[in-house]
């Protein structure tokens, strides 16, 4: 499980860098966070108290914080060490394993890799890679000048997920349903996700099934234009189920690879709206059996312990495949994701790190934790 630690620095993926960059702001304003604590030579009780405070202030929650600390304390006793470096290693591994548990479970569920597609794209990708490096260099130089971090090249889907083929072996679109509470950042996350897949070479169509909030359809339309993907809409106030149905139908008729369906924000304790969401899921299933293939909860990283309730109740209603942790460019550290991973085994799949369509990355547990420790 801890093979991750064997990775060499230079082997760290771009994803990891991006996660760290995303958390850069957090550190610069959050005050050094954990790593400063580990600069001590020896570990004292006061040290653990400070660790506890730091974790709580990152929204990990009271219980998980306590659990992490107790486990780490036990291991430091077992390994009979009070040296801060050792303790830091132990502590990191405890945090990472919490996330990895959920992550690996989810990775096992990842649908088949579209190999042919990947080969086709390899050449394009190589070209893109050259371009990316060039831009990255450029950006690094700029950053040095400005003295602050900016995300490097836009993330690109390396693998385009595919749905199982139809009865006659025909290709079927892969349907993603996006859900979340009001103001979580669903619409923006969809813009990012569609950019991510489009840049990865997939054709994408959006479904504007948030027919409730004023301006929501407009907002997604504008994004669709910017990203350059088609969008299926209906009038504001119309039935979101029919929008979802139409979108899936459109994708099936036009051979689209990826369908992303937006939904209205809903609070997880609102029975009627949660039922409505189940209705949307059913209408997608009606339009294409086996769909949706992926249901993602968009969660605001500045949210606290209520995130657990969100994950739990949305998961109870439609079954979640993962979380998009949005607003991670702020100073909120999204620590509730640890608690969710630990308790519900729902992984974070992506992170949103800004307002641009490219401020987006795949979630990397190791990088995330390292970023929290980074000095």
């Amino acid at each position: 499980m801890f093979n991750f630690f064997k990775r060499k620095k230079q082997e760290e993926t771009e994803v990891q860098q991006r996660t760290q960059e995303a958390l850069e702001k957090t550190r610069s304003t959050g005050g050094g966070f954990l790593s400063r604590l580990f600069e001590l030579d020896d570990i004292t009780d006061d040290f653990w108290k400070q660790v506890k405070e730091n974790l709580i202030q990152s929204d990990l929650g009271y219980d998980l914080t306590k659990k992490l600390i107790e486990q780490s304390q036990r291991r430091t006793l077992e390994e009979d060490t009070t040296r801060s470096k050792e303790v830091e290693r132990i502590f990191r591994s405890e945090m990472i394993s919490t996330l990895i548990d959920a992550q690996s479970k989810a990775q096992a569920n990842v649908s088949a890799v579209a190999q042919k597609m990947a080969q086709q794209k390899q050449r394009d990708k190589d070209n893109a890679e050259v371009e990316r490096r060039r831009r990255e260099k450029e950006l690094t130089r700029q950053n040095r000048n400005r003295g602050q971090a900016t995300p490097s090249a836009p993330p690109v889907a390396q693998v385009i997920p595919t749905a199982s083929t139809g009865e006659q072996g025909e290709k079927r679109p892969y349907i993603i349903l996006i859900v979340g509470v009001n103001g979580a950042g669903k619409t923006t996350s969809i813009a990012k996700l569609s950019t991510y897949y489009k840049n990865g070479g997939a054709s994408v169509v959006l479904g504007a099934a948030d027919t409730f909030r004023a301006g929501a359809i407009e907002q997604l339309k504008l994004w669709a234009d910017r990203v350059g993907v088609p969008i299926i809409t209906r009038q504001e106030g119309s039935d979101p189920r029919s929008v979802a149905f139409d979108t899936v139908k459109y994708a099936n008729e036009n051979g689209t690879d990826i369908v992303i369906i937006d939904t209205a924000g809903r609070l997880q304790n609102n029975y009627n709206l949660m039922e409505e969401m189940k209705g949307i899921e059913r209408s997608i299933e009606k339009a294409q059996s086996g769909a949706p293939h992926e249901i993602l909860l968009v969660m605001n990283a500045t949210h606290g312990q209520n995130g657990m309730s969100q994950a739990k109740l949305f998961s109870d209603a439609v079954g979640l495949d993962g979380i998009i942790l949005s607003h991670l460019d702020g100073t909120g550290k999204g620590g509730i994701a640890f608690a969710i991973a630990s308790e519900l085994k729902i992984p974070v799949k992506y992170i949103g790190t800004g307002e641009k369509a490219t401020d987006f990355a795949e979630f990397e547990p190791v990088a995330y934790v390292n970023a929290l420790f980074e000095r």
Partner: protein, 513 residues
């Protein structure tokens, strides 16, 4: 998910009552539970620590030591202190002596600024007779202007916008001139969501302020915000000087500790809370309610109000008449069901009750099931599939009508039978009770609604204790008595023997994946 603080403290102090004296160690343990409760409610750690330091002094005082139930007393001290910290009285918007009152809303992305601009505009027009103008200064988020315009159209409130090209400080300035020209006496400025660490955007906000000199600068805070609420509030306060706070999304199941955090660090009053997506879902902020919510003690007042809204008095009188005459029909029955549903999901309502933790856990679990909710809907569907005559006079319903109703509502004939039996039993009981002299109207009404639930619970889980209508006490204006859980079955309507088919179990549909 959360256990209430009172329960926890009961645990801490259990067995100590006889000892007559609390050691400092006991207090420490109690304070640890208080800390835990506050942090689970998303109160900021620093705020929590200061808070605890201040109550510890009171807690080690005589009051607790001489108390019969130290746990309750600690809760009381904590509760009082919370209310005090949250600010005693609800605070209102102060209007300008002359010229338009300028109100600016600021906050992070997704906190609900645009929605609350519309809510406040609507509220001020309705309650104060103001003529508001809404100003679209969010040039960042795609379609934010369209959102405000749509809301303006819905409410017939004018919106001033210049598109996304001009700079917000300029738009705001022009809007003021426009307001003076049009004679608007309130100007509400919607600003883009921004991070408190985003230097250019924060500077821009200062510019908007300088250009418009707002009378009120309100920070919009999502009630679900975690530990960061403190930094957000502090920084916005430092940059633009807040005059008030709006806590949004309070209709969620969040404990709302962020309210305490922002209030504690800024010292400005929390003015309103947003309680829904519709433009009328805004309420004054009541510190006492939030205090008990933070402590997980249930929001009794909100519950009572919700119940009152759904069951107004006239309605109750009308029903009473009907029951006396025995003319309570299926239409009234389904009406009651709808009312019950309007109050929100049953589970959510029960979550507002105090003491749900212990006595009512079983009941709550039974009612929280999707099956219970589904049963309510099925009942409604059956009644809706009847003709008007059938609803008024259920005795008309013969075998072939039953078949038709079952078909129309997608249920089995047995289900229709069960409903009719249940209804007859209830009607009979109503007659009996009204003959009996002093019928408890409210309990009966609850029984009407509860009947559906009860049917659901009993038919699904035959081993369940018979639940009573949890709202009965509230509707009749009596305070809830702890322990009046499932055991107090006397007020629940007597039911006929179980109808055929009512016991068969229908498993909830599983997700196909």
């Amino acid at each position: 998910m959360f256990d209430s603080l009172s329960e926890k403290l009961e645990g801490v102090f259990r067995g100590l009552t006889g000892r007559g004296k609390l050691t400092p160690a006991d207090i420490d343990r109690a304070m640890e539970e208080v800390e835990r409760a506050l942090i689970e409610a998303d109160v900021n750690l620093r705020v929590t620590q200061e808070f605890i330091a201040s109550i510890r002094e009171e807690a080690v005082g005589e009051a607790v030591l001489s108390g019969l139930n130290p746990g309750q007393q600690v809760v009381k001290i904590v509760n009082d202190k919370l209310i005090e910290t949250l600010g005693g009285e609800a605070s209102k918007i102060k209007f300008a002596q002359q010229g338009p009152t300028i109100i600016m809303l600021v906050g992070l992305q997704g906190s609900g600024k645009t929605t609350h601009v519309a809510k406040i505009a609507r509220m001020l027009r309705k309650t104060q007779g103001k003529k508001p103008l809404m100003v679209a200064c969010d040039t960042q988020r795609p379609a934010a202007i369209e959102q405000l315009q749509t809301l303006g159209r819905q409410l017939s409130i004018p919106v001033y916008s210049e598109g996304t090209e001009p700079k917000p400080p300029q738009i705001a300035k022009n809007a003021l001139a426009e307001a003076r020209k049009l004679g608007n006496d309130v100007v509400l400025i919607d600003t883009a969501g921004r991070l408190q660490i985003d230097e250019p955007l924060m500077a821009e906000l200062e510019q908007v302020k300088a250009n418009t000199k707002p009378h009120e600068i309100l920070l919009v805070v999502d009630a679900m915000t975690g530990q960061e609420a403190v930094n957000v509030a502090q920084e916005f306060n430092r940059r633009v000087g807040l005059t008030g706070i709006i806590i949004t999304k309070m209709d969620g199941d969040t404990r709302g500790g962020a309210a305490l955090s922002v209030r504690a660090v800024t010292g400005v009053p929390i003015m309103y809370m947003g309680t829904g997506e519709k433009t009328d879902a805004i309420e004054p902020f009541y510190p006492d309610r939030i205090a008990s919510r933070i402590l997980g003690m249930g929001d009794v007042l909100t519950l009572i109000e919700k119940a009152q809204q759904a069951y107004d008095e006239e309605e109750a009188k009308r029903l009473q008449e009907k029951m006396k005459k025995g003319s309570f029909d299926l239409e009234d029955f389904v009406e009651q069901l709808r009312k019950l549903r309007n109050m929100g999901p049953l589970g959510g309502l029960l979550g507002l009750l105090p003491g749900v933790g212990k006595q009512m856990k079983e009941l709550r679990n039974a009612l929280e099931t999707p099956e219970a909710e589904r049963e309510l809907r099925r009942t409604e569907a059956m009644v809706m599939s009847m003709t008007k005559d059938e609803r008024h006079n259920p005795d008309l319903i013969d075998a072939s009508r039953r078949k038709r109703i079952a078909k129309g509502s997608g249920v089995q004939v047995a289900d229709v039978n069960a409903l009719l039996q249940q209804f007859r039993g209830m009607r009979q009981m109503m007659k009996d009770m009204s003959r009996g002299g002093t019928p408890n109207m409210s309990a009966l009404m609850g029984g009407g609604g509860g009947g559906g639930v009860q049917g659901a619970v009993n038919s699904r889980k035959t081993q369940m204790q018979r639940p009573v209508d949890p709202l009965a006490a509230f509707k009749s204006g009596r305070p809830p008595t702890p322990g009046s859980g499932p055991a107090a079955g006397s007020s629940s309507p007597s039911r006929p023997p179980t109808a055929p088919g009512a016991g068969q179990y229908r498993p909830p549909k599983k997700k196909k994946k």
